[in-house]
Every structure is written in C-alpha cells, then in structure tokens.
C-alpha cells in the first residue's frame, strides 16, 4: 500500500518537476523557463521573462524575436533611478558571453509583447521565437502564470 503512495508521489513530483523545467535549445544556447504574467483586462502590452545560458565557447547575441500573442516583440532593460522607473529598449542585440546566463525577471530586463492581439491568461501556453546572431531562430513556449507571479518556481505549488 505504502509503495503505491510513494509511486504516485514520485510521479507527481516528476510531473511538477518537468512542468517547471522547460528548456529550448539551439546550438550552444539553452533557453530556460520562458514565462509571462497574466495581463490586466484591456492591457495592450505584456511582459515575458526567461533565462538564456551560453554553454559554448563563443559569444552570441539576442537580436530579436516574435510572439504569437502580439504584433511586436521588444527586449527591454528596466532600472529604478531615484524612485523613477525607466525602461529602455535594447537595440543592437543583447550579448551573451560564453558561460554566461542572462536572466530576465520582474524588476529588471524583460521581453515585451507590444500590441497584444489576445490577452494572456494564467494557464495559457504562448508560442514565440527568439532570434540569435549565430544560433539562429529558436521556437519557444511561454507559460502564462498569475499576475503577481515572480517565476515558475514560485507558481509550481499552485493547483491549475
């Protein structure tokens, strides 16, 4: 009897584990856990977050992307200077050095979905692409989490 519970427990852990460790690879780049927040009603923009690791020995550059949920895709930095929130679009590409992991997270860099063609709702999966100078175009999928989510790990205990 006990073994059945352990078995079920293991399966559940594996299911949850795999749900929060989404990886998309191209060449020596690994894109981990792309996720986005549910958008408020009527919102015209959305924010996406992810990690990009360069496991290779040569630098690469994120030069663009797309998302099915919006007309335009942009990469933005965000800083808080003297209490003023400032976003700046990254133009000219974002370099990822060999061995480096770039982290996009709330409060700092994010990808921005501009002119949404559909709202983002928690539980949705949204397709997109990332374009790199050397690794080319990777197809990825964003998991839409709650409006206040701070990342897939924090949301993994939520029952959908």
């Amino acid at each position: 009897m006990e073994r059945i519970f352990i078995g079920i427990g293991l399966v559940l852990v594996l299911m949850v584990g795999s749900a929060v460790a989404e990886q998309f690879k191209a060449g020596s780049l690994v894109v981990e856990n792309p996720w986005a927040r549910e958008t408020p009603k009527g919102a015209t923009v959305g924010g996406g977050y992810l990690e990009i690791k360069n496991t290779g020995s040569a630098p690469d550059r994120l030069i663009g992307g797309s998302v099915t949920a919006a007309k335009r895709f942009q990469v933005h930095n965000m800083t808080m200077e003297n209490g003023v929130a400032k976003m700046r679009e990254v133009t000219g590409g974002l370099e990822i050095k060999p061995g480096e992991t770039i982290k996009f997270a709330p409060g700092s860099s994010h990808v921005m979905f501009v002119d949404l063609t559909q709202p983002l709702r928690a539980g949705d999966k949204v397709h997109g692409t990332l374009r790199f100078e050397h690794a080319g175009t990777i197809d990825i999928e964003y998991s839409v989490l709650g409006m206040g989510a701070s990342g897939p790990a924090s949301d993994s205990h939520a029952v959908h």
Binding site: R37, P40, G42, A43, G47, G83, A85, T91, M147, G148
Partner: protein, 198 residues
C-alpha cells in the same frame, strides 16, 4: 586736504563697501525660507475619473489618500503595484473604506477613462482611475513632484519613465510619506492601517 575730510571719505567708502558686500551676500544666499522648507508635495487638481466624471481634490478631502502614478501600457511596475495595492486593501479589511485609493495616469493620450475602467476591472474596485487632458495631468504631476517622460520607441510607439512611489496623504491633503510599491506586505499593511486611523 584736512584730516576730517579724509576720515569722512574713508567712512563713506567703508559704508559703501559694507552695504555692497551685504547686498551681494543677500542676493547670492538662498533665502531662509527656501533653506528650511522642502518643496511641498500635493495640491489642488482637476481630473476625470474612469466613469468620465470630472473630479477635483476636493472630492477626496476628509479621507486620507493613497496615490499611485502610472500608465496602463506598463508591463511590470504598474500592474505589480496595482496588484499589491489590491492585496493590501483586502488584507486591511474595513479600514480600506477609510482611504481614497487613486491611480493617476501619466499617459492620458492612451489612458482614456474607458480604457482605465477596463484595465482597473482586473484590480480591487476601490482603486479609482483618474486621467484628463495633458495640461491637467501635467498640473497634478507638478503638484505631487512626479517625474514622467515619454520615451519614443524605434517603431513609433512609446513608453513612459515615471516616479514609481505610492504617495500617502493625510485627510487634509498633506503629504505623509512615500511607500515603495515593493514594500514588504507586513510593513505596508501597518502603514496603511495607521493612515486609515489618522
């Protein structure tokens, strides 16, 4: 020339020099009033709420206010702050009714009353959205010393830089303190309860 005349000339010259020095010092030195008082935050405003009603600061007098300046085309800071405010208002229970909670747009071109109403329907209904003409928004931003600036994008769109603090005002419309939107919940609740009770 007599000694008396020399003394008289010297006296006049000294007095002239003294008056000039004091005069220049007074002009160069900031006035005592400016040195002692920081610029006040708050003041009268005339805006439009999400139902299209004209409102002024007088409509909110008598209750303390919690004011956040932002815009709806903001992917991170603004929805996060509005969500935090919503959670905090629910957590303080009946004290929430003792507060005015206002979201004032710094992007009136896109944030029309109807759009604000739709956007805010995702948050606590006690949060009221205010917008207006460019001049009205400029006037309230100036009164509250809120920095905001349009940043054009590559493709014709734009984002807004903006002050991101939440302003706590007392029932007489006087500034109490800023509240950072990422303040720890326990501290935020304490400060909101204290404001509600003031």
């Amino acid at each position: 020339m007599g000694i008396l005349r020399v003394i008289r000339i010297a006296a006049i010259a000294s007095i002239a020099a003294l008056v000039t020095t004091v005069g220049i010092s007074l002009l160069l030195m900031p006035s005592a009033k400016q040195q002692v008082e920081p610029a006040p935050i708050g003041g009268p405003f005339a805006l439009v709420d999400q139902d299209g009603n004209k409102v002024t600061d007088k409509d909110f007098a008598g209750k303390p206010s919690v004011i956040f300046f932002g815009y709806t085309s903001c992917p991170d800071v603004c929805p996060t702050t509005l969500l935090n405010l919503s959670n905090w208002l629910k957590a303080i229970g009946p004290d929430a009714e003792k507060l005015n909670v206002l979201f004032i747009s710094v992007d009136p071109e896109r944030d029309t009353p109807a759009h604000l109403k739709e956007y805010l329907s995702s948050f606590d209904p006690r949060i009221r959205g205010l917008t207006g003409t460019d001049d009205q928004v400029a006037a309230v931003a100036k009164a509250y010393r809120v920095y905001y600036k349009r940043i054009p994008g590559e493709d014709g769109g734009y984002t807004m830089d903006h002050s991101s603090a939440i302003y706590l005002m007392d029932r007489a419309g006087q500034f109490v303190a800023p509240l950072a939107s990422q303040t720890d919940e326990r501290i935020a609740l304490e400060r909101l309860r204290k404001l509600a009770a003031s």
